[in-house]
C-alpha cells in the first residue's frame, strides 16, 4: 500500500469518525452483531506454542460456567501454506466482531510466514488502533515493586511498524517511521476518554521528540491539543529512555500512559516484567468496529508448550475482558474473581511465578471456586 493511499485512508476514516463522534473508549462500543439465540460467536485464533493448550482451558472454563459464547476457530500459525489463511482470519473477525488470539511462531518455508507482519496486517486491516494493557500488582505474586496500577495505551497501526523499508544502496537500509496527525489525535483522544471513564487523574505521553523532532514532535503536539480539552486530567510527557528508568525504579508514579507503537512495545514489556511476568497480564486491541483480546506481551511460550506448566492467568483474564466487551459482566466478574482468588488467596501458582502448580491444577481450582459461588455450572 503506498504512503499516499494510506494517508488518504486515514483522513477519510477520521472525518467519518469525527462527524459521527465515534472516538469512543472501550466499553462504549456496541456489542458485535454475531449473536443468535442469546449466544455470541467469537473468533478464536489459537496460534502456536502454549496457545492451543491454554485456549482449550479457556473453553473448558467457559463451558463449565455456561458462558453463552461459541467459538469459531481459525488457524493462523506455522502450518500455513498460503496467504488465504490470514485473510480468512480477518474475514472471521469482521463477521463476529470479536476475537481471542494467540501468538504464532515464524516458520520460513517456501511460503515465508512472518507472524509479526501478519499481526500488523490484522491490526491495520481491522483498524484496531488502540492496544490497551492494564498493569496491576497482584497481592499474591512476589515482586520487587508493589502497588503498581498503570494503563498503557499504545498506538497499534503505524509508527515503526509501518513495514516500509527499502535498501536503496546495497548494505544501507532505510526504514520509514510513519506518524500521522489523525492517528495521533485518535489515540490521544482514546487515552483521555479512557482515563476519564476510569476516573484516572494523569496521562503521560511517552516519546523521543528530542531526537525525532518531526515524528514524535507531531505525536506530542497532538497529545497536547487533546489534553487541552480535558482540564480535569493532568497531562505530562516523558522521554522514553527516562521512562524505562523511572519504571524500574519508581513505577508507582505512573497512571495512564499513551505512546506510539514501538515505545508501547517496550513499555508494555517492562511493566509486564514488573508485575510478575508475561503469564499474568492480558491485553486488548480495540478499534471502532472490532476488538481482539490476547496476552499483553504476545509470547508464544514455545519452550514450555504441552508440558502443563504454562500460566493460564493472562489468557483467562483476557477472555474476561472479552466478556466485559460483550456486556456479559456477570460471567466476566465470576471468572475473574475465581482467577484472582486462586492467585492471591489459594496461592496456587505456576512455575513462572515461583510456584509448583500445573496448568490443569490452577484451572481446576478456578472451576471449583466458580462452582462454590452457587451459579449454574456444567459437569467438571
Amino acid at each position: 500500500m503506498s504512503l499516499r493511499h494510506k494517508s488518504c485512508l486515514f483522513d477519510t476514516m477520521f472525518i467519518r469518525d469525527h462527524k459521527k463522534s465515534q472516538l469512543v473508549a472501550s466499553n462504549l462500543l456496541q456489542p458485535p452483531p454475531a449473536k443468535y439465540g442469546g449466544r455470541h460467536t467469537v473468533t478464536l485464533i489459537p496460534g502456536d506454542g502454549i496457545g492451543p493448550e491454554l485456549f482449550s482451558h479457556v473453553r473448558e472454563v467457559f463451558r463449565f460456567s455456561c458462558v453463552p459464547v461459541d467459538f469459531e476457530v481459525v488457524q493462523v500459525n506455522s502450518a500455513l501454506e498460503t496467504e488465504d489463511d490470514i485473510n480468512n482470519a480477518i474475514t472471521a473477525i469482521r463477521r463476529n466482531g470479536v476475537a481471542l488470539k494467540g501468538e504464532s511462531l515464524g516458520v520460513f518455508t517456501r511460503y515465508t510466514f512472518d507472524p509479526a507482519l501478519h499481526r500488523c496486517i490484522l491490526f491495520t486491516s481491522l483498524d484496531l488502533y488502540a492496544n490497551v494493557m492494564h498493569c496491576q500488582s497482584l497481592p499474591g505474586v512476589q515482586t520487587r515493586h508493589k502497588n503498581i496500577d498503570i494503563m498503557i495505551i499504545r498506538e497499534n497501526t503505524e509508527g515503526e511498524y509501518s513495514s516500509l523499508e527499502h535498501e536503496s544502496v546495497s548494505g544501507v537500509v532505510e526504514s520509514l517511521k510513519i506518524i500521522t496527525r489523525n492517528n495521533s489525535l485518535r489515540i490521544a483522544e482514546y487515552a483521555f476518554r479512557l482515563a476519564r471513564e476510569k476516573g484516572r487523574r494523569r496521562v503521560t505521553a511517552v516519546h523521543k521528540a528530542n531526537i525525532m523532532k518531526l515524528g514524535d514532535g507531531l505525536f506530542l503536539q497532538c497529545c497536547r491539543e487533546v489534553a487541552s480539552g480535558y482540564p480535569d486530567i493532568t497531562f505530562d510527557s516523558m522521554i522514553v529512555d527516562n521512562t524505562t528508568m523511572q519504571l524500574v525504579s519508581k513505577p508507582q508514579q505512573f497512571d495512564v500512559m499513551v505512546m506510539p507503537n514501538l515505545y508501547g512495545n517496550v513499555v508494555s514489556n517492562v511493566c509486564a516484567g514488573l508485575v510478575g511476568g508475561p503469564g499474568l497480564v492480558p491485553g486488548a486491541n480495540y478499534g471502532r468496529d472490532y476488538a481482539v483480546f490476547e496476552t499483553a506481551t504476545r509470547n508464544t511460550g514455545k519452550s514450555i508448550a504441552n508440558k502443563n506448566i504454562a500460566n493460564p492467568t493472562a489468557l483467562l483474564l483476557a477472555s474476561c475482558m472479552m466478556l466485559d466487551h460483550l456486556k456479559l459482566y456477570d460471567y466476566a466478574t465470576l471468572i475473574r474473581n475465581a482467577v484472582l482468588t486462586t492467585m492471591n488467596e489459594t496461592q496456587l501458582h505456576t512455575a513462572d511465578i515461583g510456584g509448583q502448580g500445573t496448568t490443569s491444577e490452577v484451572v481446576q481450582s478456578i472451576m471449583r471456586i466458580i462452582q462454590s459461588k452457587g451459579q449454574r455450572t456444567a459437569e467438571m
Partner: protein, 152 residues
C-alpha cells in the same frame, strides 16, 4: 572480542531472544545477561533501563568507542543544575567512566585499584552521597576512595 563474547553469551543461553521476551526477562532477572549488542534507539532505551536496575544514572559509566581507538568516556547523567556547585553530586558515574578509559588505554592495574576502592567504599555504606541514601558530601566520598587507593 566483544562479538565472540556475544556469540557465546547469546548462543549458549538464549539462542533466539526476541525483543518482547528479552525486555520482560531483563526486568525480572537481569543477571542472566552478559553482553548485549543492538542498534542505536534500542541501546538508548535499554541503557537507561539497565541504569535504573542498578541504582540510577549517578552510578552508570559509559564510553563511546570509534575506529583507531579514538574514544570518549562519559557519565550518562545530565548536568543537574539544581545541585551544581554544592558539593552534593555523586562522582561514581564519572569516576567509573574514567576507569573504563584507563582500561582502554591499557592501564589495567590503576583501573583495578580505583574501581576496587570505589566499590568498597559504596559497599561499606559509611560515606555515601545523598542519591545513594547517605549524608556525605562529594568531597568526603572522594576522600574515602582516595584513602582506600592509598591503602591498597
Amino acid at each position: 572480542m566483544a562479538s565472540n563474547a556475544w556469540r557465546s553469551a547469546v548462543s549458549t543461553r538464549n539462542p533466539q531472544l526476541f525483543h518482547n521476551c528479552f525486555i520482560t526477562c531483563m526486568v525480572q532477572d537481569p543477571t542472566q545477561f552478559d553482553i548485549l549488542v543492538m542498534p542505536n534507539l534500542y541501546g538508548d532505551i535499554l541503557s537507561d533501563l539497565c541504569a535504573g536496575l542498578i541504582g540510577g544514572l549517578g552510578v552508570t559509566p559509559s564510553g563511546n568507542i570509534g575506529t583507531n581507538g579514538v574514544a570518549i568516556f562519559e557519565s550518562v547523567h545530565g548536568t543537574a543544575p539544581d545541585i551544581a556547585g554544592k558539593d552534593m553530586a555523586n562522582p561514581t558515574a564519572l569516576l567509573l567512566s574514567a576507569v573504563m578509559m584507563l582500561r582502554h588505554m591499557g592501564l589495567h592495574d590503576h583501573a583495578k585499584r580505583i574501581e576496587t576502592a570505589c566499590f568498597d567504599t559504596i559497599r561499606d555504606k559509611k560515606v555515601l552521597t545523598g542519591d545513594l541514601g547517605g549524608k556525605s558530601k562529594c568531597s568526603e566520598f572522594t576522600e574515602a576512595i582516595c584513602q582506600r587507593v592509598r591503602d591498597l
